[in-house]
């Protein structure tokens, strides 16, 4: 479903992603793990046509995101790490807009929206503007929206951030079901290792822009002699806390610092 070869993305001289290669089979659930600033989101952006790689190649369902962006875009759904809803519009309107953007036929659109909003327990409040929603509700709406056009491939960038355990549990049950029944391929990032252990068939660990492991959770635990995936993760990536580059200003400061040297 996805094949990335020697993928590299430079911001100035800083390599956010440094020569990574991996493959994801159809129907697989793969957890893409790494500390803050490891290159997870940059990789997802390249896979989802939002960023052009500096070098290397990507195939999504046999297509190149750089040259056939619209064909690739039809094939995936995405839940972004940060919000991407229109706050002024209602939940229903956000869904309708997505349906129109993805050309979900009008006849089935209404039914599917009802089903998804009910599933994520938002149906009662569908006529309220999103700005009145809590963080968890917004998150649920984003996920519901990402599923509206029934994509065969789903990118989830920290989908459970800020969700309570009940909602997280519910979400993973739904995604598992979607994967088993409709063979949806899922590529996800998360900081909750127990979630990755629970749902992922395979784990890809990235650190400092490089892939340092790609195995099943079982294999990783065995190799590192760990009881849990979290332990294995810490063994592989070390336990120092990473500074995340918060925004372009920080990146500019960093660049300025490099120039001064």
């Amino acid at each position: 479903m996805i094949r990335a070869q020697h993928l590299t993305k430079l911001f100035g001289t800083f390599a956010a992603v440094n020569d990574i290669s991996f493959e994801i089979q159809r129907g697989e659930i793969v957890a893409f793990l790494g500390p803050n600033g490891a290159g997870k989101t940059t990789t997802i952006k390249m896979l989802t046509t939002l960023l052009k790689p500096t070098s290397g190649s990507i195939q999504v369902d046999g297509l190149n995101p750089a040259t056939q962006p619209n064909e690739v875009r039809k094939r995936f759904g995405i839940v972004f790490q940060d919000p991407s809803l229109d706050d002024e519009l209602t939940a229903q309107e956000n869904m309708e807009m997505h349906g129109a953007l993805y050309k979900v036929p009008r006849q089935i659109r209404a039914g599917r929206i009802e089903k998804l909003l009910t599933l994520f327990e938002l149906w009662e409040r569908r006529r309220e503007p999103v700005k009145r929603f809590s963080g968890g509700m917004r998150r649920r709406l984003e996920i519901a929206r990402g599923l509206l056009h029934t994509p065969p491939l789903l990118f989830l960038d920290e989908p459970t951030l800020g969700l309570d355990p009940q909602t997280r549990n519910q979400l993973w049950l739904q995604l598992k079901k979607l994967n088993e029944e409709e063979h949806v391929t899922i590529f996800l990032t998360t900081h909750y290792m127990e979630e990755a252990e629970r749902v992922a068939h395979r784990v890809v660990i990235i650190d400092g822009g490089r892939i340092i492991a790609q195995e099943t959770p079982q294999e990783l635990k065995q190799q590192t002699g760990s009881q849990t995936l979290e332990q294995a993760f810490l063994v592989l990536t070390g336990s120092t806390i990473r500074e995340e580059e918060a925004n372009p200003t920080d990146r500019m400061r960093r660049m300025a610092k490099m120039w001064r040297r």
Partner: protein
């Protein structure tokens, strides 16, 4: 086509729901109308130029259009900051449609806002010359809306955060307004100023609007006004869609 419509509709919904914005963006032109229109009125009248209030009303309609349209274009930066932009960037539709929907939405909002201001000016005593010329005035309002909505969108696509905002207002919108002849007649200007007013696309919009609403001869001529505005609109549409197509998240 459906995509253009849905993004156009979104702009309209957001506009209708933010009544505060509707009122706030009327405050400035209304202040100009009352303070300048009546304040400078006696001097203008003494110079034998007629009613200053009537003279500036078309200019202030243009001002309303300019501000509303540019801001709705620049809203793109807000969408980028609050995230909704990404939703449209990964959608499997040509970016051209998305930006067209946004620009047309912004132009429509500007048009309505201009219309509201025109109604306010009627309350303040303004009367237009010739009702039959109203469609021509509307045509100019639409064109001005498109030109500056496209300009705002181009800026919004090129800037990645809101820090350039103040700069845009100070160095772009205010000069566009003041150099357009909205507040003064374009005849007998010093050569340098006359030259600059000719570079300002809004001059042609104000000229056409004033001709349509107030009667009298157009300074540049109606055909020239239409031609220049349409050409600038086409140019800015092309520029903004090019800049928008290059956005990476």
């Amino acid at each position: 086509m459906n995509v253009i419509y849905i993004l156009w509709l979104r702009q309209l919904k957001r506009y209708i729901r933010s009544r505060a914005r509707v009122v706030a963006s009327l405050a400035q032109p209304v202040l100009y109308l009352l303070a300048m229109g009546y304040g400078l009125g006696p001097i203008f009248l003494k110079a034998g130029m007629g009613s200053y209030r009537d003279f500036i009303t078309p200019g202030l309609v243009a001002m309303t259009l300019l501000f509303t349209a540019v801001f709705s274009g620049i809203e793109l930066i807000m969408d980028r900051q609050f995230g909704f932009l990404k939703e449209t960037l990964v959608a499997p539709v040509p970016r051209l449609w998305i930006i067209l929907g946004r620009i047309l939405g912004g132009a429509t909002i500007a048009f309505f806002q201009g219309l509201i201001f025109l109604c306010v000016s009627l309350i303040a005593g303004y009367r237009w010359d010739n009702l039959a010329a109203l469609p021509v005035a509307f045509l100019f309002m639409v064109l001005i809306g498109i030109v500056f909505s496209a300009l705002g969108s181009a800026i919004g696509s090129a800037l990645s955060d809101a820090q350039g905002f103040q700069f845009v207002i100070g160095f772009l919108i205010m000069p566009l307004f003041f150099l357009s002849g909205a507040m003064f007649p374009l005849d007998n200007l010093p050569a340098a100023l006359a030259f600059v007013t000719r570079l300002d696309p809004l001059s042609y919009g104000v000229d056409g609007l004033r001709h349509a609403l107030n009667g009298g001869a157009a300074h540049f001529g109606l055909a020239a006004d239409l031609l220049v505005l349409s050409a600038v609109a086409a140019l800015l549409l092309a520029a903004s869609s090019w800049l928008f197509s290059r956005i990476q998240a």
